[in-house]
């Protein structure tokens, strides 16, 4: 096992740990923005994941996935954040 392979495997492990921690935050909340942050972080994690995958399999194509996600992923965050905010401004109190 080369150094690179080990680094890649370690990278996967680290990224996964990050995702797992994010998941815990997602479950625990407590506020809506907390959950959104957790989801947002996962986007970044997948981008990294794609990079690692590209190195591991020697296939550039995985970077295309990262490229697309890097550009588009935040839209979900924007939509959710807007939801959190608008829901309140529309006066739907106590209604998530």
């Amino acid at each position: 096992m080369t150094v690179l392979t080990m680094a890649v495997n370690a990278g996967f492990l680290l990224v996964f740990l990050a995702v797992a921690l994010g998941f815990i935050r997602l479950v625990r909340g407590p506020t809506m923005p907390d959950r959104v942050v957790a989801l947002d972080m996962m986007t970044v994690a997948i981008v990294s994941f794609c990079g690692l995958m590209a190195v591991r399999s020697e296939v550039q194509a995985f970077l295309d996935v990262a490229l697309a996600l890097a550009l588009v992923g935040f839209l979900a965050t924007v939509a959710l954040a807007r939801f959190a905010e608008r829901r309140r401004s529309r006066g739907q109190e106590g209604d998530g």
């Binding site: 194509a61 295309d64 996935v65 490229l67 697309a68 550009l71 588009v72 839209l75 924007v78 939509a79 807007r82 608008r86 529309r90």
Partner: protein, 139 residues
């Protein structure tokens, strides 16, 4: 959405997303991408636009109804398939034209397959925008 930051960002991101979407569309035959993915990304651009600046602006900059884009896209995809009839082939048989073909290089390919993919792109773009705009206007 009255966020100055989002609107400022959208100004650049929307353009970027559109250009990127067309790039994804055109390279799709050889690398990851294609009409679906391109259309999805392109739609994201306008969706962002609609979220940031409202659907009214987004519709105005789109100029045509998104439904029409989708319908025309479907028509284009169909015509790409029907074109095979002119060459005596079966429906959806790809017709290829290689510009600047040389002995070693195939040249720049133009094909009904690409036209088909452009139709797919328009359909996905138009349809998603139809949906999102209509929903946005409900709230």
């Amino acid at each position: 959405m009255n966020s100055v930051i989002l609107r400022a960002g959208t100004r650049y991101l929307a353009g970027l997303l559109l250009v990127f979407s067309i790039y994804m569309l055109l390279r799709g035959h050889n690398e990851p991408g294609g009409g679906f993915i391109g259309g999805l990304i392109g739609a994201t651009g306008f969706v962002l636009f609609a979220i940031a600046c409202g659907t009214e602006d987004a519709r105005r900059s789109l100029r045509v109804e998104p439904q029409a884009i989708a319908a025309v896209g479907l028509g284009i995809a169909l015509l790409a398939g029907l074109a095979a009839a002119l060459f005596g082939d079966d429906l959806f048989t790809g017709q290829w034209l290689f510009i600047n073909a040389t002995e070693t290089e195939k040249g720049l390919p133009l094909s009904t397959v690409l036209v088909f993919d452009i139709g797919v792109y328009m359909v996905v773009l138009g349809s998603i925008l139809t949906l999102v705009f209509a929903m946005e206007e409900e709230i």
